[in-house]
């Protein structure tokens, strides 16, 4: 459904977007696909764990506030997994710029965090950096 009339090119990386809001997932997917990434979605941390153990991803983007397995718990679970999964970079989306959230994200093992609402530019820039794909 993402409208693009750009010619297909090799994907810049595979990203898993984890958020219980379908609007947020759609937004991230649209923005990142237009920027040349492959995007998959998961509705919460548990579904995300199922997906990362089934396929390779270059980045996981995860919302802090999710029911059942919040973002921090998910990242911690990721870091405890077997090696290939544990080393997937992660980007946490938080709602506050407060120091607490920043510290929690770092302690959980996230590579970086962004504060909602996230601009297209920020999303693409950080995705590029964390997947190690050229601009």
């Amino acid at each position: 459904m993402s409208a693009t009339d750009m010619p297909p090119r090799a994907s810049r990386g595979r990203i898993l977007v984890v958020d219980d809001s379908s609007l947020v997932r759609l937004y991230c997917r649209d923005v990142l696909e237009r920027a040349g990434f492959e995007v998959e979605q998961a509705i919460n941390g548990l579904e995300a764990m199922e997906k990362v153990t089934a396929a390779t991803f270059d980045l996981v983007i995860v919302d802090v506030n999710m029911p059942r397995m919040d973002g921090m718990s998910f990242v911690r679970a990721l870091r405890r997994s077997e090696l290939t999964v544990a080393s997937i970079p992660s980007l946490i989306i938080t709602t506050e710029a407060a120091q607490q959230d920043r510290d929690d994200a770092r302690a959980a093992g996230a590579n970086y965090y962004l504060v909602k609402p996230v601009s297209e530019a920020d999303l693409i820039r950080h995705a590029a950096v964390l997947t190690g794909s050229p601009p």
């Binding site: 509705i43 579904e47 764990m49 153990t53 089934a54």
Partner: protein
């Protein structure tokens, strides 16, 4: 995407966004998760329900669904679960059991320990008998271990039928003739009765998943099959049932849900394990 109205009336137009909206609602309400690849499956069943409720638009149908008028949620969920029971249903989970789960469980057991498997709800018995048959047919170690199969349901009439073990041809449709020959004897008018040895092997009990006190006398199970029932509960009942099921399992024990069901909507108590044949949930092993 305008599926034909089954009553021959004006076709109701359903968009991608409508289907998304439906799937999200279904997930929140029941825990059933459908991804993009299941889109056709959803379209058909949605059309059926729109027609069955005489809804003039998706919006009108969705309003009926959200308010659960005339138990529409149950009707829709039934449409998705193909609400009939038969032998070797969702056998990929049975395969997972013999290919992966049993080995893992045995690693943590002492010699002589009993393997305990629970089918709840067992309905008219197809599931527990399938488990027993599958083990005998597909597990090379089956004679080297004690296996206890318990089968429970809230419906005593179903339990009675299960204990009798008489089935029509339709319930046997996935079984090969040699399997039927091995485990069933024909009885009058096209029915088959399951081998008396098997019938006696299974312990049938009445149990209510939502009643923690009833559930508290069930303990130390290694595998629980709890398929396509939690989706019918409300949030509160589901949560209570999940906590009970946790307690009914041994540490490291497994629980198998229906193939579209996810534990993620139900409870954070279980870990998820992905095997080639199935995704199952696990009570964490003892620390």
């Amino acid at each position: 995407m305008a599926p034909p109205d089954l009553q021959g009336g004006r076709a109701v137009h359903v968009t991608h966004e409508d289907v998304r909206r439906l799937c999200e609602f279904l997930y929140r309400r029941t825990g059933m998760l459908f991804d993009e690849s299941k889109r056709y499956y959803i379209d058909r069943r949605l059309s059926e329900r729109i027609a069955a409720t005489g809804s003039e638009s998706f919006q009108a149908y969705f309003a009926v669904l959200r308010s659960d008028a005339r138990e529409e949620i149950e009707h829709l969920v039934n449409a998705f679960t193909v609400n009939e029971t038969y032998f070797y249903r969702e056998d990929h989970q049975l395969r997972c059991m013999t290919s992966n789960l049993l080995d893992d469980l045995l690693r943590r057991k002492q010699a002589g320990d009993t393997l305990r498997i629970w089918s709840i709800p067992c309905s008219t018995g197809e599931e527990p008998y399938s488990i027993a048959m599958w083990l005998m047919e597909n597990w090379s170690e089956v004679d080297r271990h004690n296996i206890e199969i318990v089968a429970s349901d809230i419906d005593t009439r179903a339990l009675k039928a299960a204990a009798e073990g008489v089935y029509g041809a339709r319930a046997l449709m996935r079984l090969s003739p040699s399997l039927i020959d091995r485990y069933f004897a024909p009885v009058d008018d096209g029915h088959f009765q399951i081998d008396p040895g098997l019938r006696e092997s299974i312990q049938f009990t009445r149990a209510n998943l939502i009643d923690p006190r009833e559930m508290s006398s069930y303990r130390d199970f290694d595998i629980v099959f709890c398929r396509n029932v939690l989706i019918y509960f409300d949030d509160a009942s589901r949560r209570i049932a999940a906590e009970s099921l946790y307690d009914c399992l041994r540490p490291g024990g497994y629980i198998c849900l229906g193939h579209s069901e996810t534990m993620s909507r139900i409870s954070p108590l279980f870990g998820v394990r992905r095997f080639p044949d199935a995704i199952v949930y696990q009570r964490p092993e003892a620390a």
